[in-house]
């Protein structure tokens, strides 16, 4: 894994629950879990306690490599929610990872106007004030 966690996370924080705790705990070790079902072989994201494809409980937690490409995105010029006031213009998107799932995420980039569908991105983490690591993706320069 080649990820960073120096950056500070601003914005909303996830609400945790026992079912998703393993995902967020893994984030704190700079790992992003996409589960793979041992029964049907399908991957799934977001995290669940079972496989949503076949309802087997034999799901394996696997850390992704951290590569991906932008599947779609939107440059947000206006979000009036106070929690995002510090973000300025930012990019939300869906990243497709080679592990086989699409991930809703923030796409950090020095130039929002340069993002395209197909732009390569890499996993990164930012640390929130409460110590929780938040995963996101960053355009590869």
């Amino acid at each position: 894994m080649n990820v960073e966690s120096q950056e500070s996370w601003t914005g909303l924080l996830p609400t945790l629950c026992p079912e998703t705790q393993p995902f967020w705990d893994a984030c704190n070790q700079n790992k992003f879990i996409v589960q793979k079902c041992q029964a049907c072989g399908n991957p799934q994201y977001h995290y669940r306690a079972f496989c949503c494809h076949c309802w087997s409980e034999a799901v394996e937690d696997r850390a992704i490599e951290g590569t991906g490409t932008v599947w779609t995105f939107s440059v947000v010029n206006r979000n009036l929610t106070p929690a995002f006031a510090s973000w300025g213009r930012y990019v939300v998107g869906v990243v497709e990872v080679p592990e086989g799932v699409k991930i809703v995420t923030k796409i950090e980039t020095p130039d929002p106007d340069s993002v395209r569908i197909g732009t390569p991105v890499r996993l990164a983490f930012a640390r929130a004030e409460n110590g929780q690591n938040i995963p996101f993706f960053r355009t590869v320069s």
């Binding site: 924080l13 996830p14 609400t15 998703t20 569908i117």
Partner: protein, 403 residues
């Protein structure tokens, strides 16, 4: 008749009323609901005592605040004693889902006369429907699943529709100018509708030059926010005989949902496939095809919605909807399928859950009551609506109405 065809022509819309207001700071949402309900039952030439089923949208972050248990509370406010109540929540498509459930209930013999009603003063409440985080809009904390995996990244309603539009434009080489034709055409129709919220004509350049809210969506690619209310009466054959006006029969209906599929769904392709599943059921039930339609009312929360529904309904092929619009096919006077003849949500009326107005405008067109914007000899209408929970969890409804 076998299979779903037995549900064709089971019920008709016998009353329809669209409240003329688009801004009603002096009225409660209850009063708007009540005025629309009274308008519809008067239009039907029936009385409140005929109503034995009630369908109202659940309280919605994007428009309509009747509180918890909205259907029971609405029955209390209207002092109705329905045998059957419903408030299934599929966003703005909910009203179409109510028509489906009303027909199912009428076919099952559970009731005879359903009131489907909606009212909201989203505009006078100054609700920022599209430009805040969804949890702020819905005024609830982030749920552990799925919100905490998505909304922490700053997703807004307009940005998620932007993401869908972006992928669609990429897959098919669609331009912003082609998409802009949707808003331009519907504004031309709104210009003929004295009740429409926005009536000034606009150009492609006006759309392109309006500010981008969340790329690639310009302000004029997005629906307006209005106050508004509307209601319809869906009734069985016995009630039809008692009603005053020409019945508008529900020839066919369909519905379908989509979701993220554990992260595997192609949001863009599945959106069209969902609309197609809903439309195909409606076509099959009614024994019609897209070629039989005289007029269409499509839920246009964004220009993209109109385009994808045109494709899903079979008026053109995948990726062709924007060019189809730009070529003038939706125009009232000379289009191959005049669409959103009232101006749609982009220009006429969008208090949050626009679905009811599709039926009302279709009824006006089929009865020949669409003064100033009447499609000549309109006999068959298609209504399609897609509503959203959040991101790509969505549901479509399709209806074929005829006289």
């Amino acid at each position: 008749m076998t299979g779903i065809q037995k549900l064709s022509n089971v019920a008709a819309i016998v009353g329809a009323y669209e409240h003329p207001t688009r801004y009603a700071p002096d009225k409660s949402e209850w009063q708007l609901l009540g005025e629309a309900s009274r308008g519809a039952i008067l239009d039907a030439g029936l009385s409140k005592d005929h109503i034995d089923a009630l369908f109202v949208p659940a309280t919605a972050s994007e428009g309509g605040y009747l509180g918890t248990c909205a259907s029971v509370m609405a029955a209390d406010y209207l002092n109705l004693n329905p045998k059957f109540i419903e408030e299934t929540d599929i966003g703005g498509a909910s009203l179409g889902y109510y028509v489906n459930r009303a027909i199912a209930g009428i076919h099952a013999g559970l009731f005879k006369c359903a009131l489907i009603a909606y009212g909201a003063n989203t505009r006078s409440r100054k609700i920022n429907v599209g430009t805040v985080s969804y949890n702020q809009l819905s005024q609830v904390e982030l749920l552990p699943i799925p919100d905490s995996f998505e909304q922490i990244y700053g997703t807004t309603v307009i940005s998620f529709m932007g993401m869908l539009t972006q992928r669609y434009m990429h897959d098919y080489g669609v331009t912003s100018e082609q998409l802009a034709a949707v808003a331009v055409t519907f504004r031309q129709h709104a210009n003929l509708n004295p009740d429409a919220a926005r009536r000034d004509l606009i150009s492609i350049e006006d759309v392109i030059n309006s500010p981008i809210i969340a790329s690639p969506l310009h302000r004029l690619d997005c629906c307006i926010v209005s106050d508004g209310a509307g209601a319809i009466i869906v009734a069985d054959k016995d009630i039809v005989k008692e009603s005053a006006k020409q019945p508008v029969w529900i020839r066919g209906f369909g519905e379908s949902i989509m979701h993220h599929g554990g992260g595997l769904t192609d949001w863009s392709e599945e959106t069209r496939a969902m609309v197609k599943r809903a439309c195909d059921q409606a076509y099959q039930m009614s024994g019609t095809t897209s070629a039989d339609m005289d007029v269409a009312q499509i839920y246009d929360a964004f220009s993209y919605n109109a385009v994808i529904d045109l494709e899903g309904a079979g008026f053109c092929g995948p990726g062709e909807g924007a060019a189809f619009s730009a070529d003038g096919n939706l125009r009232l006077e000379d289009g191959s399928i005049p669409t959103n003849t009232d101006g749609g949500g982009l220009s006429s009326n969008h208090p949050g859950r626009r679905g009811i107005f599709l039926f009302i405008e279709a009824v006006r067109q089929l009865r020949g009551e669409a003064t100033g914007r009447q499609v000549k000899d309109a006999k068959v209408a298609l209504c399609t609506a897609t509503g959203a929970a959040f991101l790509a969890r969505r549901g479509s409804a399709a209806h074929i109405l005829g006289v």
